[in-house]
């Protein structure tokens, strides 16, 4: 034991003399653990939020019965089914407004609620009798209570004037959802004896055939393995995980080079220890113990950093998910013990993997072996060939996936294989480039320059691969975000056609406002709007009412349309369909779609397809008057106005004064647009932040690789100095070499990045969001990125080069004495 401690003390003494190296090792491990565990923390948090959501959605993992051709159906069918032995539980869902804030109201029936509804929170356990018996309870998340500025037990009114049962916090609920007893929901939503759906519990016994009980009034919706929302959010998390994994590998590159260097430098030390009588087993064990101890320390620090990264990004993630998919996740971070354990585990495992080559070398080292310089050329050739073969195989997989893959996962698979393959093939590419350089080189120094660059390749390749990947991801993601941004802003311009938007509290106020506006001289047009919700082929669909006005004809962009599409829309038997819904239902212009309406089926000719970015719901746009005819319950509270620009502030002030409307209820186009763009920007904030992190980590990788190489390359440089090349000259050559290799890599990253962007836009986007974007290239952005990469490389290369330039001639002489 004592002996082991001494060996450990000797080994550790190395770090005291090489503090920078020690720092790189720790930075590598910390960066790897921090980014990986940070991303995991976000994912974990979001997932537990979905589980909460899943429960309130009425169990996305539960089979349900829904009306075949309407949003709701009579409660009578529920009783009929129960009496026929169907273990069903009723749900009524709708939207209500509290203080101008829209909330989802969910009516459930706790007595029949299946115990196995997804990961349902145990609503039954929250005092059942106070939930069911009058006055009942409104279960809400703490966040909702805060948003409403209400206390537990308060009874706020909804816009119809009815009071909610006392609010009661239920920790497992998602924000913006109110859960009440089904009877209360029917009263609040003014849908007596109506239900939205039936959850099907575990059958005990043999229920009769569905059709024999309710005819064709209800249809069964199986719990799809993945719901739309799950699929969408999964894609988001896959994205994050991919970033996390990438960062983790880049971090391991750093660890690998630091450990490799330490091993090379400690070879004489190990030999001495062995010669002093320490057994190979003891020395190796101590090496492993040392590494694990370092990994534990770095892992802990990394976890703390990861926690802060996650905590900093989570609000953006929450905003992203809300903005993109309407999925609510709370903005606060809570972590499970498993997260900490997994983080430490991955840090230790990563360190061991990264150090594996060095450790194996140490195990195999004969006692008296001297540190032989590498037989670079032969080793490298074999290694290059093997790696290139692997790269080709991976790229072939990418092609296969691209051709045959249908799912979102396949889309991400293409991306991963593409990047991995490109990284693997990079050294071979550079080798060919350098070989070509060497071929055309004249003069001994130039020849040496190229040959030495080639020799350096295997040592630098991991760092260069990291740089390539980080750059490619950066190029890809920023191209996509920029494309998305431009398309979105252009689309928004068209969408926000009116100058002022008003959202009245209820129909009465809506009418009052319209009447009041008629007498205002500055109002050039009043454009009513409206929305209704229904289900088409089991999918929730939003119906958007558009007024018949020239402004819309001019500015509402259509991707495809039939001739005279806007004119066809007016009579009320035609509709535009959103791009997402048209893909989902496989509907084209010229098709007919049957929409369930309260008065019966509403047949609509599809006369146009429009882009509806960022909307998780399918949408149909119809004439607003027709919408109100078909859905008389549609709230007539949305009003758009056309007003000369200079008279907008005055009108808004007058409106606010007259009707006590707050900022949310009345807004001018510029504000709405700014708000929309702000929300949109936030949705990609996480991506940008992680992007920056990855680039930073790649820079660190490059720096540490160069530091590692700098020392091991002294034996190569010393002879050059000895034959008369000055140290500054040597340093300049070294710098040129590093920068040129980095430049090659950056230039290779550009086409790879564009390919990544294309994959994101043409494959991943379509699968995840349901829309396809036009593909734009932004050359200035690319130049910018390549410059940033070169500056990073320059900074990374500068430190070792400066050391070389300043190195005492005596040190270079020592190289001959010690190593040669």
């Amino acid at each position: 034991m004592r002996r082991a401690l001494w060996v450990l003390a000797v080994l550790l003494s190395h770090w005291r003399r090489h503090r920078m190296q020690f720092a790189t090792l720790l930075i590598g491990l910390i960066a790897a653990t921090a980014l990986w565990s940070g991303v995991q923390a976000i994912n974990q948090q979001a997932r537990s939020a979905y589980d909460r959501a899943a429960a309130t959605f009425g169990g996305v993992r539960t089979a349900t019965l829904v009306a075949s051709n309407a949003a709701t159906f009579p409660q009578d069918l529920f009783i009929k089914l129960r009496r026929a032995g169907w273990p069903v539980s009723p749900v009524l869902e709708g939207r209500v407004q509290i203080n101008g804030r829209a909330m989802r109201l969910l009516g459930i029936e706790p007595v029949t609620l299946p115990a196995d509804v997804g990961n349902a929170p145990r609503l039954g356990a929250a005092d059942l009798s106070s939930f069911v018996a009058a006055p009942g309870q409104t279960l809400v998340a703490q966040e909702t209570l805060n948003d409403l500025h209400e206390q537990d037990g308060a009874t706020p009114s909804i816009s119809s004037g009815a009071k909610l049962p006392p609010l009661h916090v239920q920790p497992q609920l998602v924000p913006d959802v109110l859960v009440v007893d089904i009877g209360v929901a029917q009263r609040l939503l003014n849908k007596p004896d109506q239900l939205s759906r039936l959850l099907i519990g575990e059958a005990k016994g043999k229920p009769a055939q569905l059709a024999s009980v309710v005819g064709d009034q209800l249809q069964r919706v199986e719990p799809t393995a993945e719901t739309e929302l799950e699929r969408l959010t999964d894609s988001f998390h896959l994205n994050l995980t991919a970033f996390g994994l990438l960062s983790f590998f880049v971090g391991l590159f750093i660890v690998n080079s630091a450990v490799g260097l330490a091993f090379e430098q400690r070879l004489p030390m190990l030999r001495t220890l062995r010669a002093c009588g320490a057994s190979a087993r003891l020395v190796n064990t101590v090496l492993v113990v040392e590494l694990v101890a370092l990994a534990l320390v770095a892992g802990l620090i990394g976890l703390v950093c990861g926690y802060f990264i996650a905590a900093a990004l989570l609000p953006d993630v929450a905003a992203s998910l809300r903005g993109l998919y309407g999925a609510q996740i709370p903005g606060q971070l809570t972590l499970k013990p498993e997260w900490w354990l997994a983080g430490i585990g991955i840090s230790v495992a990563g360190a061991l993997v990264a150090a594996a080559t060095s450790l194996i070398k140490a195990v195999r080292m004969p006692v008296l072996a001297t540190a032989q310089p590498y037989a670079w050329q032969q080793r490298q050739r074999r290694w290059l060939i093997l790696q290139s073969v692997a790269a080709c195989a991976v790229l072939a997989v990418a092609l296969l996936l691209l051709h045959y893959g249908q799912s979102l996962i396949a889309g991400f698979g293409v991306l991963a294989a593409l990047m991995f393959g490109a990284a693997l093939i990079l050294p071979a590419f550079l080798e060919i480039l350098l070989l070509a350089g060497q071929h055309f080189a004249r003069g001994p120094l130039a020849l040496w320059f190229w040959a030495d660059s080639r020799q350096q390749l295997s040592g630098l390749s991991l760092a260069l691969m990291a740089l390539l990947l980080a750059l490619a991801v950066n190029v890809g993601v920023s191209t996509m975000v920029e494309t998305f941004s431009r398309t979105f802003v252009g689309w928004l311009d068209g969408r926000l056609a009116a100058d002022v938007y008003i959202s009245a509290a209820d129909n009465a106020q809506g009418t009052a406002i319209r009447n009041w506006l008629k007498d205002r001289s500055e109002v050039q047009a009043i454009l009513p709007g409206g929305r209704a919700e229904t289900q088409v082929q089991g999918q929730p669909v939003e119906l958007l009412g558009l007024p018949d006005h020239a402004l819309y004809r001019e500015r509402w962009p259509l991707l495809e349309n039939a001739p005279r599409a806007w004119t066809q829309l007016v009579p009320g038997n035609a509709a535009f369909i959103s791009e997402q819904l048209s893909r989902r239902l496989n509907v084209r212009v010229g098709d007919v779609i049957e929409v369930p309406a309260p008065g019966g089926t509403w047949e609509l000719d599809i006369v146009g397809i429009y882009a509806d970015y960022g909307n998780p719901k399918g949408q149909l746009a119809v004439n607003v008057a027709a919408l109100i005819r078909q859905f008389p319950q549609t709230p007539q509270t949305r009003i758009g106005l056309i007003v000369p620009r200079d008279r907008i502030p005055g009108l808004i002030a007058a409106l606010q004064k007259q009707f006590a409307l707050d900022d949310r209820a009345v807004a001018d186009q510029a504000t709405v647009k700014a708000e929309s763009i702000r929300i949109f920007k936030r949705t990609f904030a996480v991506t940008s932040a992680l992007n920056a992190f990855t680039l930073g980590v790649a820079g660190i990788a490059l720096l540490t690789s160069l530091l590692t190489l700098a020392n091991s390359r002294l034996p190569q440089l010393a002879p050059l100095w000895a034959i008369g090349i000055t140290r500054p000259r040597l340093a300049a050559i070294e710098l040129t070499k590093t920068l040129s290799v980095a430049l090659f890599t950056s230039l290779l990253a550009v086409p790879l990045g564009l390919l990544v962007a294309w994959c994101l836009i043409a494959i991943v986007n379509v699968k995840a969001f349901g829309w396809r974007l036009p593909f734009h290239v932004f050359p200035l952005q690319l130049v910018e990125l390549v410059t940033v990469a070169l500056i990073a490389s320059l900074l990374a290369a500068l430190l070792p080069v400066l050391r070389l330039a300043r190195m005492q001639p005596a040190s270079l002489v020592k190289v001959f004495a010690n190593e040669r």
């Binding site: 409660q75 529920f78 029936e109 356990a125 018996a133 009877g183 209360v184 029917q186 005990k204 043999k206």
Partner: protein
């Protein structure tokens, strides 16, 4: 005195709401111990009126329709079944409409053979038609389980009626017929628990002849035998010092019926009671001191030791029998759990019956 049996079922009924919340928790029931404030009181001198009293009495806190049957299948093998519908009012006051109705319904059904015991439970809110009871013609239902009369059903004997229930792996359908009127228990149907002044309204139909089909694992067999129905309602709760009870209903081969139970208390004492119903329908109470109930053998079920074999003697009637269960593992693992299964007995008298054990 049969009010003590009320306690047993009051417990079961009272626990229904809690069982819904998936926690069978004896202390939680203590809330019922407070008062019957606002609920109708059980007072002596009630004149029973049929068919009205076959229907529900929502002004009272708890009520049940409880049936057990000792049957023999077409192969001569003995079996038993249970069908119970409990009503519990969550709070007193006028009946709310629709979902605002304050009644909660719970039902248990079981089938017991020597080699297997199957059970199931159901829950429902009142007021919406998923569960309920109507007096004329009798219809007591929850989901697809029901006890149902017809235009032919006689109000006095509550006969004939049909019965059905099912579970994942069993179902049954019976026709029940009796040629004698229902029997009012206690003092003209006012059944008082002497020491505590608690009481219930209570009548039984112990003379049913049952016939029908019983199916376990999709293998239907014809069955026939005897059945016993209890109707009871009250607003009085269970006392907190009662820990459980051992209850028997016996069909003697002579045609007489006997109901016996022993109420166990925290202090370790127990109080036996009995009621002898002659084949002519006359009832005679048996003094507690005259009943000897001795557990003979226990069985480990669901982590509990349950006395499933009994030696029972009533010296004044020269009655001495040994009871054995048809299946010692007749455990009702429902939200509120207990042991309930068919038994047979021999000795000075022979016959079949049902045994219920709670609070173990």
């Amino acid at each position: 005195m049969s009010a003590d049996k009320l306690s047993r079922r009051a417990f079961a009924g009272g626990i229904a709401a809690l069982a819904l919340a998936r926690r069978a928790h004896a202390q939680g029931y203590a809330g019922l111990g407070e008062a019957a404030d606002g609920f109708a009181k059980v007072t002596p001198g009630k004149v029973f009126a049929f068919p009205a009293d076959h229907g529900p009495h929502p002004a009272f806190r708890i009520e049940w329709w409880y049936l057990t049957a000792n049957l023999v299948d077409s192969n001569g093998a003995a079996c038993g079944l249970q069908w119970t519908l409990f009503r519990q009012a969550a709070k007193p006051g006028p009946q709310g409409e629709g979902w605002a109705n304050q009644q909660i319904w719970m039902a248990h059904a079981a089938v017991t053979r020597a080699d297997t015991h199957r059970f199931n439970e159901l829950f429902s809110r009142g007021g919406i038609g998923q569960a309920g009871v109507e007096a004329k013609p009798l219809a007591a239902w929850i989901d697809d389980w029901e006890m149902k009369g017809s235009e032919r059903t006689d109000d006095r004997s509550l006969s004939p009626v049909t019965l059905k229930a099912s579970g994942t792996d069993f179902n049954y359908a019976l026709t029940l017929e009796a040629d004698r009127p229902v029997v009012l228990q206690g003092d003209g149907g006012y059944s008082r628990k002497s020491e505590r002044g608690q009481a219930s309204y209570y009548y039984s139909q112990p003379f049913y002849r049952a016939r029908g089909t019983l199916s376990v694992d999709d293998k239907p067999v014809d069955v026939s035998g005897e059945a016993w129905m209890d109707r009871e309602w009250s607003s009085q709760p269970l006392d907190t010092d009662q820990t459980g009870w051992d209850w028997l209903s016996l069909h003697l081969s002579s045609g007489d019926k006997l109901m016996l139970y022993r109420l166990r208390q925290k202090d370790g004492k127990d109080y036996p009671f009995g009621n002898w119903i002659g084949a002519d329908g006359r009832t005679q109470m048996i003094a507690g001191g005259d009943i000897q109930m001795t557990p003979k053998a226990t069985v480990d079920v669901a982590g509990r030791k349950l006395p499933v074999e009994w030696q029972i003697a009533i010296p004044s009637r020269s009655f001495s029998i040994a009871c054995k269960p048809l299946n010692p593992r007749a455990w009702m693992g429902t939200g509120f759990s207990y042991w309930e299964g068919p038994i047979s007995f021999t000795g000075t008298h022979a016959g079949v019956g049902y045994l219920e054990l709670t609070g173990y």
